[in-house]
Symmetry: C2
Subunit: 431 residues, 2 copies
Amino acid sequence: MKRVNIGLLGFGNVGRGVWTIVEENRAELKKRSGYDVNITKILVRDINKYRGVNVPEGILTTKFEDILEDDEIDIVVEVIGGIEPSVDYMIRSMKRKKHVVTANKMAIATKGSTLLKTSNEEAVMLYYEGSVGGGIPIINGLNENLVANKIEEVIGIINGTTNYILTKMTRENLSFEDALKEAQEKGFAESDPTSDVDAFDPMYKICILSSLAFDTVVNVNSIYREGIRGIKPIDIEYARELGYVIKLLGIAKNVEGELELRVHPTMVPINHPLANVNDSFNAILVKGNAVGELMLYGRGAGDLPTGSAVVSDIISILRNRDNPLYYSKFENGTEPHELREINKVECEYYIRMTVKDKPGVLGEVCTVFGHNNVSMLSVIQKGKREECVSLVFMTHNTLEGNIRKSIEKLEGNNVVVKVENIIRIENLGME
Amino acid sequence: MKRVNIGLLGFGNVGRGVWTIVEENRAELKKRSGYDVNITKILVRDINKYRGVNVPEGILTTKFEDILEDDEIDIVVEVIGGIEPSVDYMIRSMKRKKHVVTANKMAIATKGSTLLKTSNEEAVMLYYEGSVGGGIPIINGLNENLVANKIEEVIGIINGTTNYILTKMTRENLSFEDALKEAQEKGFAESDPTSDVDAFDPMYKICILSSLAFDTVVNVNSIYREGIRGIKPIDIEYARELGYVIKLLGIAKNVEGELELRVHPTMVPINHPLANVNDSFNAILVKGNAVGELMLYGRGAGDLPTGSAVVSDIISILRNRDNPLYYSKFENGTEPHELREINKVECEYYIRMTVKDKPGVLGEVCTVFGHNNVSMLSVIQKGKREECVSLVFMTHNTLEGNIRKSIEKLEGNNVVVKVENIIRIENLGME
């Protein structure tokens, strides 16, 4: 039996998942790869910290060089996260002719080109299935299974924390703040939740997915990004009334050769499969010109699901190791692809505002929209015989720029007290 | 630019899909494989038949040997279907050192071992993603993306025709016969619908999936199979009342090392993702010990979706062609794996019967179930002040053997007029 040694960088949640899978599924991995897989060194910050997993003595180290310089280690698995020192460790590992597996979305989204260039130059493999969607095989899906397609759209719920929060808000009528607090107590959200609730995490992920889907390079900072802090229970309530559910979507579309990339809260028709993806589950919908619509649904994070992707990548490397073939994708466009600016995006919109309750107000508001070419599908006005009243609009398809011009005008108007919220609607068709 | 020539066996629905994709996505395929992909010969039965697709003159042939003996053809794509002559053509192609791509479930399910043995011996590749689930990448999923997992279950809606019929019956209250007729008129069902409605097609598919999921060989004829002819509108109605939807599921489970394989109409909880897979869509749920639950959803058949799988397989071959590595799966067990017999399967059951409407009948029926260790979760009795009355039971988890013994007893009983239907319930948990 051939044997392969693995060096693990990082021993947090995902690292322990990888360890557990390698231990528990040893027999299956042997059978399927022809190799006895062993994790022989693990890089940690503190050797004495208790981690709830038993590892043989001497396997933990605080020095990266112990792994780098160990020529019996063929594959390095990076699960530290973040950009530095992770990217540096990966590059140095590849320069020592070690194959690399990573689950690091930030590193791949921002340094993917550099990392894959190094892997090509050094003729080693770099796999990163775990970087998006945990155990959901979307990277491989785009790289291999759907390779016959022109990809038209990739749309997904790719952040479990915000989906958990939105599910709580929807089901239990909680405020954002209370749902976040509960998510934090249950370990679904971090004590600093910025990366999730302000949608940085799904921004990195949609960056990676769009690069693969459209054979290009995307500058992560040019992606339009909006988090879920502004969603109020009343918006969820109105959405329900209108037949929608609010989800944080990552959206990547190829619109006549122009790329449209955005991450924001979105109203999804209640009977669409994405509307029924709840709690911390993820789902990704791909539309290709041959396959039609395909949806992948599963656990988008967590020790074992992400570990599943990482260990499967290890097996792929073992199967392919003597054949350094087609594993580089980011290489095609060297210059980042220009994105369609947000004002040119076409959508339907939900707009909720508070206006003064007096005659002629609705007409005045509608006139402003009309002048800016925004036409209405539905209007809900709920008077309470108070000084002010809520107006809710659902528009037909229109340019975001027209919406913004209307809103600017309305905010300077003396009958509109406040534009409370604007949420984009995706009338996702799934015939 | 390197060039590869493809020989296409069969030019029906899927064959034309393959042709269309190769034509329309030529630029993408070049970019992604490094090859200019050309279909240079197509085997047909009748050269003069009009097919709605324009192909260059001279490309069609009625002689397999024209393709077999053409040494410029590196890859043969088999989309004829059935066992003979397809299997013979594939084997002879591989012996001529041609790689083979097929979408033929029957050939893979019944002759998979032989075919893969030949591909190993000849050091050529044999890919068959299109054989199950059309464009849904479930074969690759099990072979690669989930390779780190011990697979516990594969459960799926893997026949579009019956799903279309059941959806029609559910939504429009149609009888099986009327729904079938409509499916035939719309081209979703064949004029002889046996393969679909009697569940042969999904039986072949679950055979392939279980072989891959459990690293073994399965004898297709030992799979328990039950079609949808017996489903009545009233069963669908009762199911709805009980909170379920009736779907034809292919089920493969590893129960403590024993394989349980069955295809039959099944009641699925109404809020489970599988319950919401409608019309001709397919969906496959995989449960692995690392990834948890993963669902793939999409078009399970059709020219372009299946073509998507076939052409993606072609690209995989081009990428891997210099490295005849790990593409054989069926090889592991040479003897077919023994299956758990249906009487030992544990399920919940829906049982509908007509009984005489007189005192003591319910007690008598319940006593029979009780003696056979079948315990009840719900009972619905709907009296109509007629001589006979419908009794509907939903049982707790119980052995199929106990159900069968009870039914045998009840059918010989003078108060039971008829046991009308028995449908298994899968309380699919998706936390």
